[in-house]
Point group: D3
Amino acid sequence: MHHDRHERGLEFLNRIDGSQGEKVMAALASVAPDLGRMIVDFGFGEVISRPGLDLKTRELCTIAMLAALGTARPQLVVHLNACLNVGATPREIVEALIQCGVYAGFPAALNALFAADEVFKERGVSPLGE
Amino acid sequence: MHHDRHERGLEFLNRIDGSQGEKVMAALASVAPDLGRMIVDFGFGEVISRPGLDLKTRELCTIAMLAALGTARPQLVVHLNACLNVGATPREIVEALIQCGVYAGFPAALNALFAADEVFKERGVSPLGE
Amino acid sequence: MHHDRHERGLEFLNRIDGSQGEKVMAALASVAPDLGRMIVDFGFGEVISRPGLDLKTRELCTIAMLAALGTARPQLVVHLNACLNVGATPREIVEALIQCGVYAGFPAALNALFAADEVFKERGVSPLGE
Amino acid sequence: MHHDRHERGLEFLNRIDGSQGEKVMAALASVAPDLGRMIVDFGFGEVISRPGLDLKTRELCTIAMLAALGTARPQLVVHLNACLNVGATPREIVEALIQCGVYAGFPAALNALFAADEVFKERGVSPLGE
Amino acid sequence: MHHDRHERGLEFLNRIDGSQGEKVMAALASVAPDLGRMIVDFGFGEVISRPGLDLKTRELCTIAMLAALGTARPQLVVHLNACLNVGATPREIVEALIQCGVYAGFPAALNALFAADEVFKERGVSPLGE
Amino acid sequence: MHHDRHERGLEFLNRIDGSQGEKVMAALASVAPDLGRMIVDFGFGEVISRPGLDLKTRELCTIAMLAALGTARPQLVVHLNACLNVGATPREIVEALIQCGVYAGFPAALNALFAADEVFKERGVSPLGE
C-alpha cells in the first residue's frame, strides 16, 4: 500500500504537473529529497488523487488558494500550468483569479493574473474571445 | 446598466447566500450600508455573476480561499452554505478543504472542516457515505 | 533617556489607549510582564510618539493594517477606540475600513466594520449622517 | 451614473497613480482587461473617490496595509508613488512604514522601507533632514 | 511500512499531544475522519517523528509558527500543551512567543501569550521566577 | 542602561548575523537609519539577547516563523545564515523547514528550503548524510 501510494503519486504528479513536477523534485535533491518524496507520496498519492472531487475543480481551487495567499508564486505558476493540463480553459482560470479580488483584494488578483498572463503566452493560449 | 447590476447582484445574492446574505446587509445598516451595496452591486452583480465559470466551481474556489486565509470564519460559514445552495455536495466541500491542508497547512484545513461540520449538522447533511 | 522613553511611553499609552492600555498591561502580568514594558517603552515610547506623522493618521494607519491582517481582533478594538480618542471621526474610520476591502478583500473589511460597529455603539457615536 | 463612475475612476486613477496606473491597465490587456476596468470603475470610481477621508490619509493607509500584508510589492511601489503624488512627504511615508514594524513585525517594515528607498531615489527626494 | 507509520504516528501523537490529540481525532469523525488519519500517519508518523531535530525544539518551532500566522488558536493551544509535555519550560515558551513580536508584530505575540497564560493556569505552572 | 542595550544589541547582531547585519544597517542609511537603530537596540539588545532561551533555538524558531509567513525572503536568508552561525546544523534547519509544511503548507516549506539550499551551497555545507 505504501508502494501503491508512491506509484499513484507519481502518476498524478506527471498527469497534473508534467515535466514541471520533475523539475521541483530535482531541485530538492541537494537540500531535502525527503520533502520531494512526501509531496509525491502524500500530496499527490494520498490527497490530490482522492476521488470525490474532479481534478479540474481541484486545480482551480488550488490556484485560487495560492493567489489568495500571495506567498507562493513559483507554485502558482506550476498549478496554472496544471489547470490547463487537466482541462481548465484560460477563461475559467481568469474567472477564478478575478474572483480572488473580491475575497483577498485586488493586489492578490493582479499578481496572480500577471503570472497567468506569462503562462498563457508561453503556451500560446489566450483567455480572450473564449 | 447601473440599475441592472444592482438587480443582478440581488438576484445572485439571494440564489447563492439565501437569507444569510440579507442578514449581512442588515448587520451593516448601522455602520456601513454603502459596503453592503458594494458587495451586492460589485461583488455579486459584477464579479460572481460573470459567465465563464459555473457557480458551483466559483463557490468551491471561494471556500478554498477563505479556508487558506484562515481569517474569515463568518464569511466561510456563509459560503459553505452557499456551496450547498448551488449544488456542491458535502463530499466535494470536504475534499476541497482537505486539499487546503496541502497548500496552507493542516491547521487551516482543520478549522475549515470544523466550520463545515457545524454547517452540515445544521442542515442535516453528511459527507460520509457519499 | 531610558527613563525618558518609559515616561513618554506611558504618557502616549494613556493618551491614545486610555484605560484599555492599562487592561492589556494588567492581563500580561502573570505571563509576560516584560512584553508589557516593551510595548510601553518601545512601541509607544520609541515609535508611536515619534514626530513626523500626526497621531490621528498613525492610528488610522494602524486600524487599516490590523483590518488587512485580519488576525488581531482584540488589538483592532483597542485601536478603533484609540482612533476616536485622538480625534478621528467615525466616518473617517469607516472610510479607511471600506477601503481595506479593495486591498485585502471584502471579508477583511466586513469583519473590521462589525468590530467598529460595536465600538461605535458602546461609545454612543455613529458614522452615519456625518 | 455608470458612466459617471468610470469618468470619476479615470480622473482619480490619473491624479493618484499618474502614468503608473495606465501601465497596469495596459499590462492587463492581454489577460483580464475586465479587471482593469473594475479597478478603475469600482476601486477608484466608487471607493477611493469617496468623500469622508482625504486622499493623503487614504494613500498612507494603503501603503501601511500593503506593507503589513507583505505580498504585494508591485502595488506597494505604485502606492508609494501615489502617496507622494497626493502630498504626503517622504518623512510621513517613512513614519507610517516604521510603525508597521510594531504591528506586523520588523521584516514587513524593512521590505517596505527598501521599496520606499528605491522610489525616493528615483524621484530625487529624501526623508532625511525633513 | 504503511502500518509502521500509523503505529509510529499514534505513539508520537500520544506522547506529544496527550488526550488533546484524541479529542481532535474524535471531533473529525463526523466530517473528515480521513484528515484525522492523515494527521496521525503523515503529520506525526512521517514528519514530526523524524530524527534530526529533538521534539522540544520541534514544538517550540511549531508554537512560533502558529503564533506568527495568528490564524490557528485551537492548534496553538494544543501545541502549547505539547511544548510542556515534551519538556519545554513555561519560560522557554514565553521567550519564543515574545520573540514573535519582533518578526510578526506585537499583536501576534500578545494573542499567543494570552493563550499561553490560559494553558499555564490550567496546568498550574508559571513562567515567572524561572 | 540605554547605552547598554545598544552595546549588547551590536554584540548580538555581530555574533548572530555577522557581516549581513551590517549590510542591512547600511542599506537603511538613506531611508530609515532610525529603524536600523531600533533593530539593534530593541530587537537584538532587548529581545534576542534575553536569557531564558538559547540562541540556537531562538534562531530555529525565527526561520520557522519566517518560512511560515512566506513574506520575508531576504530576512529568511539572513537568519538561515544566523542559524548556522550560532551552531544549528544544516540537518536541523532542514527538519524545521520540512515541519513547516505540516503547519503552513508545502509551498511555504518548498520556498524556504530552496532559500536554504542557496545558503548551504554558498557556505559549502550540506544537510545530506548528516
